[in-house]
């Protein structure tokens, strides 16, 4: 007996008015599928095509020309540096936070869980301003920093800090529910068998959460490389120095250099597609360990 028959049979035996409403569900199903496909096509697919179409409008040579500009190379480099610092930082923070939340009870636990979501709740521009208020020349730490010649905002450290701030929920958010659900029986068993805390972590805890962890890292990376608002506030927009890829795209667009703007934007779009692909693979692995 196939799946099809399984569904079909009961409908025929149902009272007529119920049969009608079950068939209607089929109609609703298709309607919903069409709506969501159209919506996705309109809001995701068409813009994506546009980015690549605009980028290649003047040919492949012009496209690659955009990446030979030293300012573009500097922007790509800065974005990579930022992501390479932000991701390990958030990996450690995410593991520590989810470990403490899932395994221990302590006063203020719920507040900590809520606080982790804070960067999702406030606008990235505001988070940028927080850093300006804190580290700016007129800010709390500003005068001391200036005296000691330490540059935070309008320099790489500020960009990294802003990026860490907007991306820190990603890893923790993935891990907390999983670790809570898994409980700590396996770890207790490992401990009872004589494993050290460190060994338990590497051999038991980490393997249990690895796919969720990777998933969080990938989301974190996508956001770190694509962040605009928070970084824009603390960047200072110095060409070739404090512009990340998204900021560089805006500058090129404002300079009427559309091919280069879309070429560099296509890099981000490509990154997004890559993220999606890796994400699907990880999701699949996650379900079929």
């Amino acid at each position: 007996m196939t799946d099809n028959e399984l569904i079909k049979l009961p409908v025929d035996y149902l009272p007529v008015h119920v049969q009608a409403s079950v068939r209607e569900t089929g109609l609703v199903k298709w309607l919903l599928i069409i709506i969501s496909t159209l919506f996705l096509g309109f809001f995701l697919f068409i813009p994506l095509i546009t980015v690549f179409a605009e980028a290649f409008r003047k040919g492949i040579a012009e496209y690659f020309n955009a990446f030979s500009d030293p300012a573009a190379i500097a922007a790509i480099r800065l974005t990579l540096i930022t992501a390479l610092i932000a991701i390990p930082a958030n990996l450690i923070f995410g593991l520590a936070a989810s470990w403490s939340i899932a395994r221990f009870n302590f006063p203020g636990k719920n507040i900590l869980i809520t606080l982790i979501d804070l960067p999702f709740a406030i606008s990235p521009v505001i988070s940028g301003f927080i850093f300006v208020l804190f580290f700016g020349l007129q800010g709390w730490l500003g005068p001391w920093l200036a005296e000691n010649d330490i540059k935070i905002i309008f320099a790489i450290p500020g960009i990294v800090l802003a990026t860490i701030f907007v991306t820190f929920p990603f890893v923790a958010r993935e891990l907390i529910p999983l670790m809570q659900e898994q409980g700590n029986e396996e770890e207790q068993a490992a401990m009872l068998l004589g494993a050290s805390g460190w060994k338990t972590f590497w051999k038991v805890t980490l393997p249990n959460v690895k796919w969720a962890l990777l998933y969080g890292v990938i989301l974190c990376n996508a956001r770190a490389m694509g962040e605009f608002g928070a970084v824009s506030v603390v960047s200072g927009h110095i060409r070739g120095k404090t512009n990340t890829i998204p900021l560089h795209v805006e500058i090129l667009y404002n300079e009427y250099n559309f091919v280069a703007a879309f070429a560099v934007a296509s890099l981000l779009a490509f990154l997004a597609l890559l993220t999606l692909a890796v994400k699907s693979i990880i999701e699949w692995k996650y379900k079929h360990p």
């Binding site: 480099r77 390479l84 700016g136 020349l137 980490l206 927009h237 404002n254």
Partner: protein, 360 residues
Amino acid sequence: MSFKSLAKKINASIHAIGLLFLFTLPLLAQTDISILNVSYDPTREFYQDFNEEFIKYWKLKTGQNVTIEQSHGGAGKQARAVISGLEADVVTLALAYDIDMIAKNAGLFPTNWQSRLPHNSAPYTSTIVFLVRKGNPKKIKDWHDLIRNGIEVITPNPKTSGGARWNYLAAWAYALKKELGDLSRLKNQTPENEILQAEKNAREFITMLFKRVPVLDSGARGSTNTFVQRGIGDVLLAWENEAFLAINELGPDKFDIVVPSVSMLAEPPVTLVDKWVDKHKSREVAQAYLEHLYSKTGQKLAAKHYYRPVLPEYADPEDMKRFPDVLRISIDEVFGGWENVQKKHFNDGGIFDQIYLSGK
């Protein structure tokens, strides 16, 4: 694949990328000296050309290699960044008030900065014109046409953009002139009741004008893109140079410039940021950079990029022919200086806030 071996691989690739950076680092930096010019939105193309010329000039004169870093954005926003600690060696902004604010709030240079260079420290001037769609389909000739029904006006936000403040003030000056005829009557404030009435009408005019604005961008370049690229609006209130640039970059077959009967004498000034040039030991080159704006090369380039040079004899006469005659009112003449303008019109709770909030 175990997680540990994956971690090892990731680790190895991080190291590889790190090494890559180490190798590329020395290639990218390493010049003798560098200065940062924090400027406003529409000067991008001008300073791109000017910097190239200055680098050559400085190399010839001193043998030193200089790198000039550029930052552009709405003038108010840029001033804010310098106040918060963006270490600019020179600022070249849209209006004196923004530079005043840096002197006042951050104390990075003396408050009499404007007297340190000739012509009020403004090496070039500009004015506000209208950019309309080709053939002027809505027949926009002067300021009063902007408040007709069904006209959409594009201007940036006066709170963040210097150009937008010039736009707003030009409209205000037009309304006053229409009422009073002769603007010198403002100086001695007679007869008082007529002046008050004129101010009231000017306010009404501005209120109507901003009701016609569908998008307020934060900088002049944003507004130009809104009008030119996104095709929104019937008329763009723009810097003269920005209007010419839009026509040049995007085709003379698409837009026309309309010169209104009254506009502003906009003086975008420049200054040295003493605190940072002393820290960076760049005073000499930064000073020379600003002085070079007044040289033959600087003035010629300014005219080429549609800024009106203060020393027109240095400019190419062909370039000078492109500037239309326009009645340009100075800020001191009608408004009694930036301090007053800012307090009355643009500060929080000022006239702009009142009319814009009530208009929505």
